[in-house]
């Protein structure tokens, strides 16, 4: 049995099959992911946790062909725009077909990102919806 640890606290939970958790400014309504400790737009300090939509649209992407800190090539990363007005940077699930295109619908998945010191590191990715 291999231990699983999450990549960082407070970014997601496992409700509804896994969803991202952001926060929302009570004054101006701006939504943040990862959570902001105060509103970067109006500097309001009253921010509350909100679960984010599980689907969004691909704003841009690339396939890495050289290693990054934890990923061996090929790996895909991209920017996904969620309906809440948040842009999320995330690894993308590279499928055999590898058919990413700007504007396509994407869905969040919570799964293993990489292994480190015998542990599975769990985080979020997006895959074509």
């Amino acid at each position: 049995m291999v231990d699983a640890v999450i990549v960082r606290e407070g970014l997601f939970d496992d409700a509804e099959g896994g969803r991202l958790l952001g926060n929302k400014c009570a004054s101006c309504g701006k939504v943040y992911f990862p959570k902001a400790s105060f509103c970067f737009s109006c500097f309001g300090t009253n921010v509350e946790e909100v679960a984010l939509s599980k689907r969004g649209k691909l704003y841009s992407y690339t396939i890495g062909r050289m290693p990054s800190t934890h990923f061996q090539p090929p790996y895909a990363v991209g920017l996904v725009d969620l309906p809440e007005g948040v842009r999320v940077f995330a690894p993308l699930k590279l499928t055999e077909a590898d058919t990413f295109r700007i504007g396509m619908d994407m869905a969040v998945v919570i799964e293993e990102l990489w292994q480190e010191d015998g542990k599975l590191i769990i985080g979020y990715k997006f895959k074509p919806a």
Partner: protein, 382 residues
Amino acid sequence: MREVAVIGIGQSVFGKFPNRSAASLGGEAVAAALADCRIPPKDIQVTYAARNYDTNCTAQAVCKEVGIRALEMINVENACAGGSTAFRGVWKEIADGRYDVGLAIGVESMTTSPIAGKLIPPEKDDLDGHLGMTMPSVFAMVARRQMEEYGATPADFALVSVKNHHHGCLNPQAQYKKEFSVEEILNSRMICDPITLLMCCPNTDGAAAAILCCMDVARRHTTKPVKVLASTLLSGDYEYLQEDICVSPVGTKVAKMAYEMAGVDPKDIDLVEMHDAFANEEILRYEDLMLCEPTKGLELLRSGATKIGGRIPVNPSGGLLALGHPLSASGVRTICEVVLHLRGEAGERQTPKATVGLAQMLGGLVTGLEHGVNASIHILAR
């Protein structure tokens, strides 16, 4: 505020030198700058040194190589704008009247740094860095948007690299002095689609140095001092992964500040040295610097105006792409190149009748802030 001049410039060799220390590379650049203006080491009153990796009293270690010691020395780190920050530090000291003569150093040993052989990540605790964000992956995502929104093609990005490698062939100090065709650049190894190896600046070890002084001192040493008309440095706002990743709000703001401070119009600029760490980036920076109308960067590139001999040569040194990019050295090195052209000493790559030149640097990644966390522009004139 006093007027400030640049009287001495120097550069070390640029390339891969895993057996040379940062102090030795820095010392070579400082010795060249001292020789350039023929002032003795003891005349230096203040030193700022920039270095990104493994920095630990870099200014002191470099200066001891050339007989400069026992004076105020400040070490700075500001990602790719580190060298610009060091230059601006010295400029402020002299403009404010605190000192009359100062030394700015930028140095980097990339081959011995902890990131040697890896794609440059953000700071090590940075979440997105762990999730696969690197400098090339960011610029690759920007490139895809340039293709989507402006009709750019990978061949356009390659064209920037063709141009800057051609310029590098005219610069004896460039790391790479080799011409490449669009096809060769497109067919080089893929790094992050659509960015290929030859669209990325290489890893480079090297250093650059500049000696600044007040006008009284400058006139004693030269009949043609190069003046610093504008010195600006600004950090990015909370606009992470901003609405349009093809524009740089901080880059645009800092350009407006610089033109205003210098009292010159973008049309007055005779040459530009800028941060072309990735070929596609140069096209966007034309727009930030107002060398063309917004969204017209591609047209400017395709017209050939930014080649040596064109209306506004950009990166006549070969840029980071061909000359090389020792991170913190580049901010000083770009200023040195502008000074050479203003003096009329740039040899085969000389910009004809250059009177005003601009050196820009932009860089750094921090989750939560716009990408390009630091932007700096210096405008110089003869």
